[in-house]
Symmetry: C2
Subunit: 379 residues, 2 copies
Amino acid sequence: MPFFPTKRLLAQFTNRAVVYAQHGDPTKVLSVLSYGPLPSPPSNTVNVRFILSPVNPADINVIEGVYPTKPKPDTSLRSSALGSSDQPAYVAGNEGLAEVTEVGNGVSGLEKKDWVIMTKPQLGTWCSSRNVGAHDVLKVPRAPGLSEVHAATMTVNPPTAYNMLQEFVPLKEGDWVMQNGANSAVGQAVIQIAASRGLKTLNFVRPRDDLADLVKQLEALGATKVLTYDALADKSLRKELKTWTGGRDIRLALNCVGGQETTLMTRLLGSDAYLVSYGAMSKQPLSLPTSLFIFKNLTARGFWQSRWYLEKSRDEQRRLMNVLVNLMSQGKLKEPMHEIISISAKESDEEATQKVRDVIAKSYSGRQGKKALLRINVE
Amino acid sequence: MPFFPTKRLLAQFTNRAVVYAQHGDPTKVLSVLSYGPLPSPPSNTVNVRFILSPVNPADINVIEGVYPTKPKPDTSLRSSALGSSDQPAYVAGNEGLAEVTEVGNGVSGLEKKDWVIMTKPQLGTWCSSRNVGAHDVLKVPRAPGLSEVHAATMTVNPPTAYNMLQEFVPLKEGDWVMQNGANSAVGQAVIQIAASRGLKTLNFVRPRDDLADLVKQLEALGATKVLTYDALADKSLRKELKTWTGGRDIRLALNCVGGQETTLMTRLLGSDAYLVSYGAMSKQPLSLPTSLFIFKNLTARGFWQSRWYLEKSRDEQRRLMNVLVNLMSQGKLKEPMHEIISISAKESDEEATQKVRDVIAKSYSGRQGKKALLRINVE
């Protein structure tokens, strides 16, 4: 006779998390684990219920164990449910929108039903509910026009875009910025935030069959020019660029690709420029002629939003979030293209595990184009 | 009957310059040209007699026409002496020690017999005498222990070394700095200036047969450790380095090589470090993993002493020169290894031309090891 859980059992396991016990290929090491209701939150913490949790490329690297930030095991999970009781359980996921369900003693500024986002990296967001430190989250104002998707994707990509446009080169209205991987989530945010500041963008993307559609889409976001990497090999580009910019030097290039395309893009920069890297999608290193550094005074830097959160005060974090909420609320920063993957409470852990692994496998292929957002344990 | 110049003619051509009419291979385009005495200096200028003029690698690039700073033709030279009267004559050379021979109206702070060095790039120093703007030179104090060779080589290499140790990373006694091309003229200055500040240096040089001699020589200058590029491939180096530094991160690497050796060296740096490039002897580009920029917050910069002179005030220039004069005078910054090539007034222009071309050819080979200094038109 097959085993059916009784109603009492189902009620007991109201929560679920996507966990792993050791680093490795996420399509093999991830599994969905059910666990009971959370105990009441200790002092200075809150219990939260996750609404949406994005799957970012870096999440995959964390699970693989190749990311510099290592997650901490979650000791609140009943380790026996993981099969072996001496293995730590890591909850995957870095970003997410959650709702406060219970507030511990000593917490000020947070109430039940408040929306919060995570400011501490690698908290483990691919779950239905969990307990978090009150200082590891920020309350998100419920501004009109601000959607769940907006809020859930607010801590990684938009601030990366915003800060890269802010922290390296002083830019004023009419100045140009160039970037590759312009159709990435960060790239789309760069286009929109730049446009909201009156900055022009020169955007490079991979050559593709549906290029015209992509160009139209990025132009609709506010892109000034969209070109493929092939255009970089064309010597006439430099001249054309001069016409577009009215001879004004471009002093900021944002890079998430690396390799030869980035070398060619960097050559288009004027003197005293910054090349800021935040990704390496080509998996090729940056290769730059030394003369650019010596004679054109190029500075090559990197940007990592996780470091930003560690270095900045809560006031600075809140200030940045408010800027982004305003942009989103005013329709100047749109939801990223996305797909919501719901994991119902009715699915078995095995079924849910397979669903999550499929999402990851699709992300791996790199051609998904849409950001995957997990909604875990909906009724 | 062969033509012998009369005494009157010899007296008329008291001056000589190493000139070129068009860019190209220096061993082909350079020639030595004789010309008459200088007219009295116009207002705000001085006439100077060159004592010693170094041959730097960049001088060759300038003559080839591949250097970003282009020299101005010298209209004071009788162009008829160049064969074709409508070709401009460029006097080669960027660095040199000269003595003031005549002071124009309106010049303050300079007198006959004063030593001066050039602060304006590409003035044309490979000559016996010329007229220069009073603001394009700096008076060098005749400090005890300061030799002609010291003063003649003071404007390019020692300030490059000094500024790279000064402008990027705040370093305090006991901190480490690493560099490649450590036996270059700049590298030797880095070792000595670092030692004078109580900084430790990790020095990389090319593998070679006489390595033990070179190590001894660099250690005598104050080098803490000297290794070959081969050592960079050895994985145990990182561990060894930790023992040497007591686990202290190295935050500054100076690079004049490029290519794979520089990639490996950069990997030894700690977080928040600077890689500062001032040369590219390997003619290979800088190739750096993007992860160093993103996760270790590496900054890659360049340094060019010519830009420094353009950006800094005369007071700042004088302050730097005084620091270097003091180091030299105290024996903390030794003369670079050098060879003086004298061109006698008795040699014909053809003989002198051949001598200069031979010096350049030797520099070209890159294995000269000694800095060549021209002393032109000695009696």
